[in-house]
Symmetry: D2
Subunit: 337 residues, 4 copies
Amino acid sequence: MIIVMRPKTPPEEITKMKQKILDLGCEVHESLGVNYHILGLIGNTSSIDPDTLHANDYVEKVIHVQEPFKKVNRLFHPEDTVISVGDRKIGGDTFAVIAGPCSVESETQIVGIAEAVKKSGAAFLRGGAFKPRSSPYSFQGLREDGLELLKIARTKTGLPIVSELMSTEYLERFVEDVDIIQIGARNMQNFELLKEVGKIQKPVILKRGLSSTIEELLLAAEYILAHGNENVIFCERGIRTFENYTRNTLDLTAVPVIKKLSHLPVIVDPSHAAGLWWLVEPMAKAAMVVGADGVMIEVHNDPANAKCDGQQSIKPEKFQALMDSLRQLAVIQNKII
Amino acid sequence: MIIVMRPKTPPEEITKMKQKILDLGCEVHESLGVNYHILGLIGNTSSIDPDTLHANDYVEKVIHVQEPFKKVNRLFHPEDTVISVGDRKIGGDTFAVIAGPCSVESETQIVGIAEAVKKSGAAFLRGGAFKPRSSPYSFQGLREDGLELLKIARTKTGLPIVSELMSTEYLERFVEDVDIIQIGARNMQNFELLKEVGKIQKPVILKRGLSSTIEELLLAAEYILAHGNENVIFCERGIRTFENYTRNTLDLTAVPVIKKLSHLPVIVDPSHAAGLWWLVEPMAKAAMVVGADGVMIEVHNDPANAKCDGQQSIKPEKFQALMDSLRQLAVIQNKII
Amino acid sequence: MIIVMRPKTPPEEITKMKQKILDLGCEVHESLGVNYHILGLIGNTSSIDPDTLHANDYVEKVIHVQEPFKKVNRLFHPEDTVISVGDRKIGGDTFAVIAGPCSVESETQIVGIAEAVKKSGAAFLRGGAFKPRSSPYSFQGLREDGLELLKIARTKTGLPIVSELMSTEYLERFVEDVDIIQIGARNMQNFELLKEVGKIQKPVILKRGLSSTIEELLLAAEYILAHGNENVIFCERGIRTFENYTRNTLDLTAVPVIKKLSHLPVIVDPSHAAGLWWLVEPMAKAAMVVGADGVMIEVHNDPANAKCDGQQSIKPEKFQALMDSLRQLAVIQNKII
Amino acid sequence: MIIVMRPKTPPEEITKMKQKILDLGCEVHESLGVNYHILGLIGNTSSIDPDTLHANDYVEKVIHVQEPFKKVNRLFHPEDTVISVGDRKIGGDTFAVIAGPCSVESETQIVGIAEAVKKSGAAFLRGGAFKPRSSPYSFQGLREDGLELLKIARTKTGLPIVSELMSTEYLERFVEDVDIIQIGARNMQNFELLKEVGKIQKPVILKRGLSSTIEELLLAAEYILAHGNENVIFCERGIRTFENYTRNTLDLTAVPVIKKLSHLPVIVDPSHAAGLWWLVEPMAKAAMVVGADGVMIEVHNDPANAKCDGQQSIKPEKFQALMDSLRQLAVIQNKII
């Protein structure tokens, strides 16, 4: 960490700040520029809050050098983490395809879609039971009944199931029922929820918040790892920008960036990012070639009558075509799909 | 709601869509443009999900006409809502000043600050007991002990207390202990939490999410009102933009906009928005003149040693000067402070 | 175009507005909702400024139905435009690779790089002669001398040259000297410049502005086409967002979106978007699979001593590897590279 | 400037980098952290391009310490700059009100509005002759004829005139005809234009680009000052964000920030920022209390028939009321209006 003192800071204030750094358990390294006086902190700075130092009136800026995350940091864990879910894997050589409807609507619907996506080669079934919706008047999901239907679909197809957890209240139920717990974009910084999923061993898909930087996403995962659960999969799903033709702006560059900064797997959700079904295929292909470890695709047998997100869901035939494209690319990318 | 069909949509698809609208309980109003065929939905469209209609391949776009929020909508509730907290009010002619430290650190600290801000004219004491922090290694608040210390400060000063609730787990405790429950920016779309605070009658300050549109903020409040609690106060606290000199970009224009769209009170938090103590005073004054119903100000007796957000906290003397400025403006704005 | 009148608009104001629409040469289509009164404009609305209608106090909102651009619109020109530059093409089955240094520095440098990228398979040479730089103290390019050096490189390699025009003052010179004129992101809405390049027949690469919506980009191209030049190639080069790990956020979804809305070719500049050399290869590959018609890549023989943008330039060997990757993908994408 | 070398950089690469710094004319200050090796550059770093250093593969990041702007920097010019236009001033104790229509439409219109705003107390007349419009089919201004009409309005009222220059082609004409040259948001980084207005002595209002950081705005002004013209007035006019209720998001916090960083005056344009006439008054008042040196207000006698921006223009009576409000606030703010 580096502290830049304001021009013309009185020497006694420099001395005080140096003492404060020593009190924080770090060594001080001093450097005098033409206008600025710079103090470097040498030592373990990860638990020092830069805002506290910045509160000093004579401090111009405080600059991070060391990344603020540790357990998710590739620097201290160079090899890729591969997460196992039964006999399937996420990370490493595998390209994991998770597919299914935005929300579970009925047994026929979820079982039908599960069978279709399995046939096309999906490795996991997704389906929302508890749905975060902007409006209280929109369909909120079948909740516990939805979980029951997902379990039926799993029994019939053997596909492990992924579903979103929105509250610690249902954590135990999810640990019991689902194979991968999803934390949605809106809850990426629901720290109480992160701490609790940190105490279990179930794999967690952590979706990037709409306005979260990559660093904040890594820090959110750090909450989970710091509490004991190392099975975290990142999911890029679009960020909020001024462009409004698409629902969000898919930040595909985040994939190679996260893979450089962290050892954890990264998947991409092109359906939510784009918000339009005809954009799902090109963006899923792009996810593959930028190095993602998988994709999460919304598939619905009857999008025009889906209870949510129909406009971004693709039909099973379209999903089959998408899988064919992905398989072609997988050969080039040396990925097993 | 208006549906624009794609150019060259086959007539039978138009017929199908018209039937679908009738099935949704609305009348259809048809209009033929040069290239586009337009269908208007007449009736109660508030429970119709536009995404469902958009899922039809022949639909070019779906346009809202009616605002999607109802109970918070000024259209159906023209007069201002004034919220009572004991003998104090938020909304109407009152300009409510809420002041206190980012986090409660000790009895001496919170009581000292409470006495200081009371003396300068603050009407409410704020203090964080449970703290949402980006890093798991930052100070997380004194939690339940913090609530106890806030209660001591209330007893000593008579100031009602405001504190942030981060999880439904502590809801009962907060209903018991605090006077106004704050829902933080990161939890603005934690819908499970919103539903629960909707079931109580305690006033709620709902902070705008970092990347939330004004419409989403109103819909988040709609969750609370729809579940039965009409005591909601909006708080503008900055949105995330590309500008990084300041912590966030304070969207002051949102104040008159929200007051036009909704009958609920709106306050402003300049401390979190700007993230720099020397910006707090001008932005608090601006909040007053754009018509806000109050401000929330971080005050700390020793910012350079504060456990969080020291760089954006002002000292009690500075707070006194700020109150003096606000009082001058209150005369012009016809507000009681 | 659709006009939504405010709730409770007096009938005489509706009548006035209807007359105004007739005066604008359109027919009116009227529709009465529960709270809102809606007026549809039937006819040629492309020259009607929605802001003018919005200025009426009784107007709640004005909604576009028809896209505001015409000549660039695929609706009126369904087949892809293919642009010829000598014997080379941009658009259609071709994937055009444009490569070269950020700025021309010397004859040895530009000729050396030109030979290297030609050997690897680039179809065009790029090189900045006039450089737009945030700071007046940064290197501003060799200007006219840079153009001379580019011409030498063209003579030696046969590669057509692409260079950025920043002012109408040099237009004649550029028409004479370069094969494709580039309009940079910062000048995307320099309308005087757009009008002038609209009067020539030289192909123009139009880069998306940092904060321009896709619609604004298409409208900027509309300026060029409306003045007579139909040889426009769009270039997605990243938009400005809150994420600051990368220089900008590459909006790859914009590629299939633009190709749906317009018949003109679209290329991608991953170098400027990412701003980091190790991100260029994955993002260039992604550009190919989302359907771009080409890429523009910064290549420098000695990035660490480049006069600008060294951190985002790749070395010739790395460029060779990138071309190999692109060729593999081209087979799958049915593109000629 | 501080260079952070990647963990495990070979010692010989550190040595090379140190030599490079010496070659750039700076001293090196070395500091060894736990994982990172840090090199500080001591000396005049303003002409060193950080990107060049970043291009070295072993460099993790390059951090500015010194602000990259010099002539606009308050550090080297502590007292406020006051700009004179005839007998009027912008900056210091004065609060300058510039008012007038978006575009000049006719002699009656511009003279009528000029007389009205003068009567209410405006100090300058604004009026667009050359208009930057997103669509080529929108009204582009009366151009040279517009300048003639502005001059008639000046003769009749004595108000100095402000108008936007879009191209160097008309620079001489503007120097002759107008009192303050406006550079619009879209041309903030039209560096060729900035250099040219840097060669004259006429005051320049430089509007912040829609996606420009404060630092970029200051650097754009630095172009003008570096070429010899020190009469620059900044204008905050809203930045582009995800919020789309308003045209842009007015960043009022930028006002005290710019005034801290620079000695030049800062005005605010609430009309373009908000894009809705009923937001102009509250935001203009807020501009005053955050310390702006003036405002620029769109006033039109008949907004519903204005040729541009009618929805954000206020009528003369409304402008009178706004001036009354500003005068009340001026007393508190110690400003002369």
